[in-house]
């Protein structure tokens, strides 16, 4: 009798614990109570917006403005600085049964991967009425986010035309001209640019002329139509003369001691804006806001922008809606609004992101804009001229990984003293491992 009572109690205890465990492990469905399919147009909705880097929407107040226009929509925004860290997180979210991302940022380097491999995991925006937006974007921008069977997977946010941002005070100290038109005339080729760098180095020992070797390499290559893939989708990274030319110029800059030996977006690079450890940066328009932030108030008026030797593009993104989002319609309303011409103009004025909408780019507020922080440089005109000359570039699915490998190899020459041939061979090996 004694044993049976103990056994019953033990079994009862296990049953209670088991039930508690199952109850504790089940999901709390309170947050999903708003998933009525258009049941009530003004029902409160929370949209999860996940971006990377510096889209600039929050800083420009656009999320708050949208909330004022649509009080029932709450935007839950978060951003991961490094796109390389963001993309695996996004991919994991795409495969969840109930998605937790409603608006996803897509970098231009990934858009080919999205349209070719992940098209089933994103909502076709045509089903939500996107075709009405097509005419307001640059055709090549729109086309890049369209699959071969006509599905539109992202609305373009900005483009990244590159100009050279430089420190006027450091240039003055080195005895170089500081007027942007004069510099633009002198920078006719990359060799001329490096020659000026040698002049700079002669006078200014510790400070580097160019921020990073990888930045220089990307700026040079960013002007080519074909980079790492050709039209048929075959990787050509090892045979493309444009790649070799960009590589060789960057190696020359390293060997002449003109580069800063850091990685872009690293802590040391960030500090370099304020401390003057480098004098020039190949700056896409979206980096303008970033430079302002890192160089701080002390830097105001010490910076200027001049067109560089080529017309190159870096970045520019899209906003897409994962297929497993619970609020596709509301998310589309948001991204449609964010990428409309008036908002792109606001974003340019506040954050420097250059519009991917040709309508917005033609707006006098953009074309005539001067940036006080950068010595009143006509950034609208400078970036607009570069954007107008941009080639329609071929983007491949693994562009990001290949670019990473070359950037890392250049850094290994700088910091580890590897020979250029060694570094090139290592880069090819890493690329083959990543995409082969």
């Amino acid at each position: 009798m004694y044993t049976v009572r103990r056994r019953t109690r033990a079994l009862l205890g296990a049953l209670i614990v088991g039930t508690l465990a199952i109850a504790g492990c089940s999901s709390n469905d309170k947050s999903d109570s708003n998933t009525g399919n258009g049941a009530n147009a003004n029902a409160p909705v929370t949209l999860n917006v996940r971006l990377f880097g510096t889209f600039g929407y929050k800083e420009a107040g656009l999320f708050d403005a949208y909330h004022t226009l649509h009080p029932n929509v709450t935007i839950n925004f978060s951003s991961i600085q490094q796109e390389n860290d963001y993309y695996p997180v996004l991919q994991q979210n795409l495969n969840a049964a109930k998605g937790s991302i409603d608006v996803a940022g897509l970098e231009v380097g990934r858009i080919a991967d999205v349209t070719q491999n992940l098209s089933a995991k994103f909502t076709d925006l045509n089903t939500l009425g996107a075709s009405s937006q097509e005419s307001s974007f640059y055709p090549w921008k729109w086309k890049a986010a369209t699959t071969t069977d006509g599905k539109v997977l992202g609305l373009g946010t900005d483009v990244g035309p590159i100009a050279i941002a430089y420190r006027t005070d450091l240039f003055k100290q080195a005895g170089l001209p500081t007027d942007r038109d004069e510099l633009a005339k002198k920078w006719t080729s990359w060799d001329a640019f490096l020659a000026m760098g040698a002049q700079y180095k002669a006078k200014m020992g510790k400070s580097a002329f160019i921020d990073t070797s990888s930045g220089l390499y990307n700026t040079i290559l960013g002007g080519s139509v074909k980079q790492y893939y050709d039209e048929s989708g075959t990787p050509i990274y090892d045979s493309n003369p444009a790649v070799k030319q960009a590589w060789d110029t960057a190696v020359k800059a390293i060997q002449e001691g003109l580069t800063g030996k850091v990685n872009q977006f690293s802590g040391d690079w960030d500090k370099g804006f304020a401390s003057g450890s480098f004098a020039t940066v190949g700056a896409p328009s979206w980096m303008i806001g970033y430079i302002k932030g890192k160089a701080g108030d002390k830097g105001s008026g010490k910076w200027d922008i001049a067109p560089g030797p080529n017309s190159a593009n870096w970045g520019g993104s899209y906003l897409g809606i994962p297929k497993n989002s619970q609020h596709a319609k509301e998310a589309y309303d948001l991204i449609k609004w964010l990428t409309e011409a008036p908002q792109q103009v606001t974003l340019f004025k506040k954050g420097g992101n250059f519009p991917s909408s040709s309508v917005a780019a033609a707006d006098p507020a953009v074309a005539g804009y001067t940036e006080p922080y950068f010595n009143n440089a006509p950034t609208g005109k400078i970036f607009g001229d570069v954007a107008a000359k941009l080639p329609v570039q071929i983007i491949g699915p693994k562009d990001g990984a290949i670019k990473d490998a070359f950037s890392t190899a250049l850094l290994s020459i700088e910091t580890q003293g590897k020979s250029p041939d060694e570094a090139w061979a290592a880069a090819l090996k890493n690329i083959k491992n990543a995409i082969g």
Binding site: T3, N84, P88, G267, K271, S412, A434
Partner: protein
């Protein structure tokens, strides 16, 4: 008769009729089910979150799986493993894991032993020291690593600044193979020394003072007491910490990843500090090769098993030879 360690060879079979009962447990049929219901919750959770992922990872490692489309699995048999064993990146990662493991484990355990011995004395503020020693263990890996990365910075780091004060050149900690591995090992050592010291301390406190007194009477110095009384009594504890440290050292991931910043995932600009854990993340998450990453994961598992078995056999061998 003081038993210093449980006798693991004691049989658990019921005692033959007529002999004294071993543990005082009632040996009636039906009562044997009770203990199993108590441990069932743990095994259910282990089965779901431990055993199933282990087996599923092995299954994934036999396929080619892309990270973006994990539902599409293509059977490739053992191709992932053969590619792995022929890959110079794998052997590089294995070598790095071994060297970082040795640099971070050996000095750490020795220091922990010494610290525990010092704290065993009746010093003032003993409790404060014990708490302070454990605090590094309580910090988050990410926060600690980021702070140390700043300290080891090339241009603006505190350690380079100190070196500059005494006339040395700035060291690029991230660029060199040994400098980066020493830096990472420093972070690991900082975190785990206190933890292991407390484990040794707890074991030391169960050593009877009679042994020390008799050793002292026989004329043993402090060092000899340490060598011939403390360490032999600590043998099972030392074996335990070696096994745990080996497992941890094989899996080092967070520290090198955050140490390198943007190039952390590849273990530096030329993979100079890429460990097996980093290789797994790099191949699976950056290069989208989930099947290959699963193969790396199972290879790590097998390496840990072998290392633990070797550890345990060596320890048993020494013990048996001393008996």
């Amino acid at each position: 008769m003081v038993a210093t360690e449980p006798d693991v060879r004691q049989s658990d079979l019921p005692a033959p009729a007529g002999t004294a009962r071993r543990h005082g447990r009632p040996r009636r049929p039906g009562a044997g089910l009770t203990p199993y219901t108590f441990v069932l919750p743990f095994f259910v959770v282990f089965g779901a979150f431990g055993l199933f992922p282990l087996i599923y990872t092995a299954w994934v490692s036999l396929h080619k799986v892309d990270f973006g489309t994990p539902e599409k699995m293509t059977w490739v048999g053992f191709k992932n493993y053969s590619t792995l064993l022929h890959s110079e990146f794998f052997w590089n990662a294995l070598r790095n894991t071994f060297t970082i493991g040795v640099i971070s484990t050996v000095p750490q355990l020795l220091m922990a032993l010494g610290l525990a011995h010092l704290l065993n004395y009746q010093v003032r503020g003993r409790t404060f020291f014990r708490v302070a020693m454990l605090m590094p263990y309580a910090t988050s890996v990410a926060a600690a690593t980021l702070v140390f990365t700043g300290l080891f910075g090339r241009d603006f780091g505190f350690i380079n600044w100190l070196l500059g004060l005494v006339g040395f050149d700035h060291i690029d900690w991230q660029a060199g193979r040994w400098t980066s591995q020493i830096a990472i090992s420093t972070i690991v050592t900082w975190r785990w020394t206190g933890y292991n010291a407390l484990i040794y301390l707890a074991a030391m406190q169960s050593i009877s003072t009679d042994l020390y007194e008799s050793a002292a009477i026989d004329g043993a110095s402090r060092w000899q007491q340490f060598r011939y009384v403390t360490i032999p009594a600590l043998r099972p504890t030392i074996l335990f910490t070696i096994i745990i440290s080996t497992i941890g050292a094989t899996q080092i991931f967070g520290e090198p990843l955050l140490f390198g910043g943007q190039v952390g995932h590849s273990g530096g600009v030329s993979r100079q500090y890429q460990t097996l854990g980093l290789l797994l993340y790099d191949e699976g998450w950056r290069n989208s090769k989930l099947g290959y990453a699963a193969a790396v994961a199972w290879t790590m598992f097998v390496i840990i098993l072998i290392a633990v078995l070797v550890n345990a056999t060596l320890a048993r061998g020494r013990q048996r030879s001393r008996d």
